[in-house]
Point group: C2
Chain length 179, copies 2
């Protein structure tokens, strides 16, 4: 961030009056440009006893398996965003259920939220950003080829909770120290 998005003037970096941390500030029009974490929302989609995974077509982690998920857009709920991403990435129509996992990734200022969901009719396909979509039983999950820790953790929790058919919301912080 170098220029004011309101008036185009070069920005300063300082602590605004009444604040306690540095912000990008415009000395011309006095706009303070806050930067905040972003939310990524997705679905843990099941069909009978299997889970839907997508092989990533793009970096980061191209070629590794993920759950369909992406950035929440303005104007939608986290569940709506999860359903939309599931359609965009896996061409899957789902019946979305409850919120299941919430992850904080403060080192990259992201929050992940996954909903449990069921395929409506068993059909799916590779969407954009995906080279392949497939259903995996627990025994076949490619644990060594998962794209992100939040994916591994969500799947672990799901297979742990499933025998009891109880799926409370799980929250977890993924803390990675920056060098």
């Amino acid at each position: 961030m170098k220029f004011c998005s309101n008036c185009g003037t070069a920005l300063s970096r300082r602590i605004p009056q009444g604040d306690n941390r540095e912000r990008f500030v415009c000395d011309q029009c006095d706009t303070i440009h806050y930067q905040n974490p972003r939310v990524i929302t997705g679905c843990l989609v099941t069909w009978e006893d299997r889970v839907l995974l997508c092989k990533r077509a793009i970096d980061p982690r191209s070629g590794l398996w993920t759950l369909p998920a992406g950035f929440l857009e303005n104007g939608e709920t986290t569940q709506q965003g999860a359903v939309r991403e599931t359609w965009e990435e896996a061409r899957a129509r789902v019946n979305a259920g409850d919120l299941y996992t919430v992850f904080n990734l403060p080192h990259i200022s992201q929050i992940y939220m996954f909903y449990r969901a069921e395929l409506l009719d068993g059909s799916f396909a590779a969407g954009h950003e995906t080279t392949e979509a497939a259903l995996f039983s627990e025994a076949d999950i490619p644990w060594d080829e998962l794209a992100f820790p939040v994916i591994e953790k969500t799947l672990e929790l799901f297979f742990r909770d499933r025998p009891r058919d109880q799926f409370p919301v799980h929250t977890h912080d993924i803390i990675i120290k920056r060098r």
Copy 2:
């Protein structure tokens, strides 16, 4: 958003290639300026059988009662943000517990998250953005003077859950149609 924060050029509004919705785009340096929902995080703070509320010193809803909460900052977890806001707004040190409520407010592109927390030593005071902080028993909650629907709903759920001492995560969408 009128100017590119990367190069200062006036922005266009169009659907980028491979996307499906309008974004602010810089035709000079090709930066796409995404806009995403923001997260507000706070604490439902208790001390013995009472709940800590703050009377707002600022708009919106100046003079009405709220739970201490504010925008999540980059680099912190939602629980850390909730604890920080509780200190800033109510000068209260807390032992933060589990995530309790999650609200989607898509009409203003916000997500609220409240954690349950206990006062460490019973002390608190009006912080900035607050004219008065006070502990309220269930019978004394100023239901007609609460600042936001998310506050009312979180308190309702808490007093409903408390007799059983079971506090599962509750999710709720607050849908308000824009005129």
